[in-house]
Amino acid sequence: MIKPAPSPAPTPALPVALTIASLLFMFSAYADSPLFTSRATLGSLNGEQIYDHICQGCHMPGGQGAVGAGSYPKLAADKNFVSWRFVALTVLDGRNGMPPFGFPTGSRINSGPAHLSDAQIADVVNYVRGHFGNEYKAEVTAEQISSLPHPAAELIGPQ
């Protein structure tokens, strides 16, 4: 679907940049593709798919992390993972340059990062805590995620 989203449109507006742009520069939705998610299909991804489509861009396949001028944490054997809250809050709010994924549905946020539902955040938290050598058995639920503070919705503002 590429029809303009109904108002209020969850239109991403990357201010920017390097070219980027304002709301005016972009179409309201993107074409579907089996390889790509869209705002419509993103909601159906499970934890593993979310990791493969999004998280591994930085945390790398297998959760191995990477080191440059700074580093992306290796997810395997990360002591912080003992706390599901730590992992969940990181996904919800971002951390040190990592974008937040817990904006409410329909948020108009600069640059349009992905929005994940509480159930999806629970699923991806469970996925990373149960893979890459991590063996935290206790499953987190969407209800537990929803009880945590979420980032506030944000209207597109001048940037």
Partner: protein
């Protein structure tokens, strides 16, 4: 006078009209500026740093646009300047990938750029608006030749994969038809007196005439296939000479189809302040600026230096680093002051003794995802077949933008175009792929717009900014909430340390943000240094 509504009191519109009629457009613009309509860059011309204390020193971290702007001005003002740069080159995100270049991203994938000589892509910034006065100043200062950057090309495409059978539409046609239909609707509403509450009788005739001109309407205020509309959207058969030259008007796209396609959202692409003509690109690639700055600063820059610790005390700042050639041997530099331009995702991980407010700000700014890909083709089919000379095509496909080279027109032979410029969710997904996968997908998607891709493609490179070892993201994303809470704290000098970069600006992602933030920060550092006086 009693009749304030009458002759003595001009409406703002009337006033502007009079100024425009009598004094020309520049006076009109000045008047608009003073009335608060048009904003200007904060750049105020070359910075004045007179009176630097003798022997005062500054360590500048990062040799990107912010760091090099600061280092250049501080050096010229008499400060002793040292710079540390993680990369083996100057420029930071001011960067051009050319044939023969190698680039290794986080995760270990190395790409060899196989473009022919003289071809390049700018993985980062690629355009400079004329009103980015700071960038224009330093570009001129460094002797960088500029070329026009075509932000808007009326013959490039707006493309929706689900409208018009997936066939790309010329920007010219979509714009003319959208504008024409809107003008017709407004004209009809005006004629039916629907706008009487907003439009005076006196204005009504002028409004109708302006709509006719603006929308290329016919004498009945209708937007139809006509000479007038053909003059905007192009012709079925363009005017020429002689017996064969009689033009045939083209048929506009129906309003419903324009609206339904969503392509109208691309019509205003060149209307935002940062995208208005004129824009420029350095000849030979954006990286020419960083390279020239690097040569200018020469031995002040220590390359391959990875900062590991920043520590200030009452007398100065010590910066610890490792050299990538001998990572096991910690080294350090010391100076009276520190200007730090390290991107925030990296700085957040470096131990630095600043107050909680600055530390919180450093950790509060997520970085945008962005991906660019450059593709080399055997011939410039976009020019030869489709008559697209420079500019940008916008698409709903995951590649989002195709940027055509704004130079080398009709040069024959091969060409390199920007096959994708992607942000948001799509960029995250492209980042998660290997570089060859990215290039393959960019070619696949691009071939839906230019079927010539399949036959003409030769090689490509794809840069995902979250995998850039020296930034770990494209640029800082502020929200109004984080701006309110953290922005001032990020920019305030903490003891002897000041931060600069596009992340410390209201021009996020633009090089002008880096330049103006650097000048702002060193101006304040200089005041502190002067206030403290010469060292004992």
């Amino acid at each position: 006078m009693e009749n304030g509504e009458g002759s003595s009191s001009l409406s703002r519109r009337q006033l502007l009209g009079m100024i425009g009629a009598t004094a020309g457009a520049s006076a009109m613009y000045q008047a608009m500026s003073s009335l608060g309509f048009a904003a200007e860059s904060p750049y105020q011309g070359p910075i004045d740093l007179q009176g630097a204390p003798r022997g005062a020193s500054v360590v500048v971290l990062g040799a990107g646009m912010a760091g090099m702007t600061a280092a250049y001005e501080l050096r010229n003002a008499g400060y002793k300047v040292q710079m540390l740069e993680y990369n083996a080159r100057a420029g930071g995100r001011n960067w051009t990938l050319r044939g023969g270049d190698r680039y290794t991203e986080l995760g270990g994938h190395t790409q060899q750029c196989e473009f022919d000589k003289d071809f390049y892509i700018n993985p980062g910034p690629w355009r400079i608006p004329y009103h980015h006065h700071g960038m224009m100043h330093y570009t001129k200062l460094l002797g960088i030749p500029l070329e026009p950057f075509f932000q808007v090309n009326y013959n490039a495409y707006l493309h929706s994969s689900s409208a018009f059978g997936g066939k790309p539409q010329r920007f010219r046609e979509v714009k003319a038809d959208y504008q024409g239909h809107i003008a017709e609707l407004l004209a009809k509403a005006t004629q039916q007196n629907a706008l009487d509450a907003k439009v005076t009788k006196e204005d009504r005739e002028m409004l109708l005439e302006s709509l006719r001109q603006w929308g290329a309407l016919d004498s009945n205020y209708s937007y139809t296939a006509s000479e007038a509309s053909g003059d905007r959207r192009g012709y079925e058969k363009s005017p020429g000479g002689g017996l064969s030259g009689r033009p045939i008007p083209s048929k506009p796209i129906a309003l419903h189809d324009i609206l339904d396609s969503g392509l109208w959202s691309g019509v205003a692409n060149g209307d935002t302040f940062d995208m208005q003509t004129a824009l420029f690109q350095p000849a030979g690639g954006m990286g020419r600026i960083g390279e020239a700055f690097g040569r200018e600063l020469g031995p002040l820059i220590r390359y391959n230096a990875k900062v590991t610790d920043i520590h200030q005390d009452d007398h100065g700042v010590t910066v610890s680093f490792t050299d990538s050639h001998s990572p096991g041997t910690p080294q350090s530099v010391r100076a009276d002051w520190c200007l730090c331009t390290i991107p925030l995702p990296i700085l957040a991980q470096i131990s630095m003794n600043v107050g909680q407010s600055m530390a919180s700000a450093i950790s509060a700014v997520p970085y945008a995802a962005a991906v660019k890909a450059g593709l080399q083709f055997k011939r410039r089919f976009w020019e030869e077949d489709e008559k697209i000379f420079g500019g940008i095509t916008y698409t709903d496909l995951p590649i989002m933008n195709i940027g055509y080279p704004n130079t080398g027109f009709q040069s024959g032979g091969k060409g390199v175009l920007l096959g994708a410029y992607i942000w948001g969710m799509r960029a995250m997904e492209f980042t998660a792929m290997t570089p060859p996968e990215r290039v393959r997908k960019v070619v696949d998607y691009g071939s839906q717009i230019h079927p010539q891709y399949n036959k003409e493609f030769e090689n490509g490179v794809a840069v995902a900014w979250h995998r850039a070892p020296f930034t770990m993201g494209c640029f800082g994303m502020w929200t109004s909430a984080t701006r309110a809470k953290h922005y001032d704290n990020l920019c305030q000098i903490d003891g002897r340390i000041a931060l600069a970069g596009e992340h410390a600006s209201f021009l996020g992602g633009w090089q002008e943000g880096a330049v103006t933030s650097a000048l702002d920060a060193i101006g304040r550092l200089h005041q502190r240094a002067v206030a403290q006086g010469e060292k004992a």
